[in-house]
Amino acid sequence: MRTKQTLIALMALLVFPALLFAGTISGKVVYTGTPAKQKPIDMSKEPSCAKQHATPVTVETVVAGPNNALENVVVYISSGAPDDGQVPSQAVTFEQKGCQYIPHVLPMHVNQELKVINSDQTSHNIHPLAKVNREWNKSQPPGTPPLSEKYDKAEFISVKCNVHPWMHGIFAVLNTNHYDLSKGGGEFKLPNLPPGKYTITAWHEDYGTQTADVTITGNETKDVNFTFKAKAY
């Protein structure tokens, strides 16, 4: 029994050498300057959504955290790590709730299943404005089962609702599984990187992109921080 387990472990190491030398890139995304005030959203024409929000809802273009942290930045390996072609079998979900998209930014792998859920008591019509991929829009009345879709090319896609003009989200369709979305403190983490030279890209929907080159030599953690310049308007 023990021999078998050891054998499996050895084989696993052969197949995934990354497990032996798994480097990690981690860091923080921050901004300098003063971000524009996020405008409030008036949902009064859709009372079933308005009543779900105890506090006023604002747009989510720039979500700032404490100490100038910048949330919702997609950080991913844009070159250096060849796409392992492994499409995660788990679907990512995009929920329409309270007439907002949750999450606001949804990263996914090319060809990964995308499930769109309507949890509201009103009809939505989701319309991702794809330019490289095929563009579509679909109506989803309340109670409709989740829609299932996938994108076969890498692209940042702006998503809108054809019924509620204020609804806005992003699909980040990536050619890699090495990605993360910066959290409330601006932190991100890209684990399990085999040794090599990488280019990391940080993408923000309003502030644009930034890149950094990182070399991973072995079992180590490299710190990389990104600083975006905030726009006053």
Binding site: K37, I41, K45, V59, N162, A232
Partner: protein, 266 residues
């Protein structure tokens, strides 16, 4: 059988006139200074069209009653002077009636469209787009910033395509999803569509005006009663048309000033 048909026509005509004459369906309360003229015009139109309708039905019934039992050999009499005279006479009668409605209606129409708004009328811009109305106030500087359609981004709530970074006038512009106005103050409404045709309809205001893409339409009115009224789109504009509405809040001047301040602070 023909006589039965003739009586049925008369009965249908009379029964359809009864609810109109009894005012079964009353118009919603009028809250505008010009609404009385519009209502008067509507009643005049209804009366004239109603009389013509009843007359036409009664004459039809009479002819059926009188001539339905003719034998196959009966001679058909033609209208004196032939059909030409009849057509000209009909055109004159109907034409004069329509012209008269138009001429008398101009005074109601002019109030909203033709006369220039007074110098101190409050300008509000309204933009219709699938499927919401948005309203813009010029802010404390009294000037609207320029419009840059390429900058329209609903995701960041730049509904009108303003450029506050380069355009000082746009910085204090107030954009809202509801329309607040002070009571007894003239409002000059500047209307444009973002995408397709829409319509701005407030029953109580007696204002119903289409948005035509590419045209800047303007009208003016004065609301006379504080309250909350519904603004609906009455031009089928697409999938979400049923849900395209906003609210008109008519407030006291003081409430309105507070509302503006609150909007500006957001």
């Amino acid at each position: 059988m023909a006589k039965f048909f003739s009586i049925t026509i008369v009965l249908i005509a009379i029964f359809s006139a009864i609810p109109i004459l009894r005012h079964t369906w009353v118009a919603p309360e009028d809250i505008s200074t010009h609404g009385a003229l519009i209502d008067e015009q509507m009643s005049e139109t209804m009366a004239e069209a109603g009389i013509s309708f009843l007359a036409a039905q009664f004459i039809l019934a009479l002819f059926i009653w009188k001539f339905s039992n003719r034998g196959p050999d009966a001679k058909i009499k033609s209208f004196p002077g032939g059909a030409k005279g009849l057509v000209i006479a009909a055109l004159l009668v109907v034409g004069v009636e329509v012209m008269a409605l138009g001429v008398f209606g101009v005074k109601a129409w002019a109030n909203v469209y033709l006369d220039a708004p007074s110098a101190n009328a409050m300008p509000i811009q309204v933009q219709a787009g699938q499927f919401a109305f948005y309203f813009r106030y010029p802010g404390p500087d009294g000037k609207f910033g320029g419009l840059h359609p390429e900058l329209i981004n609903e995701g960041s709530q730049n509904i009108f395509g303003l450029d506050p970074e380069h355009d000082v006038d746009a910085r204090d512009d107030i954009v809202a999803a509801e329309m607040a106005i002070p009571v007894n103050k003239e409002v000059h409404l500047l209307m444009h569509a973002k995408d397709v045709g829409h319509s701005f309809f407030v029953r109580e205001l007696r204002v119903q005006q289409d948005f035509v893409p590419g045209l800047d339409v303007s009208l003016h009115f004065t609301a006379t009663k504080v309250g909350k009224y519904e603004i609906v789109c009455t031009q089928l504009c697409g999938l979400g048309h049923y849900n395209m509405k906003a609210y008109l809040e008519v407030m006291s001047q003081q409430d309105f000033d507070n509302w503006l301040k609150q909007q500006a602070g957001q």
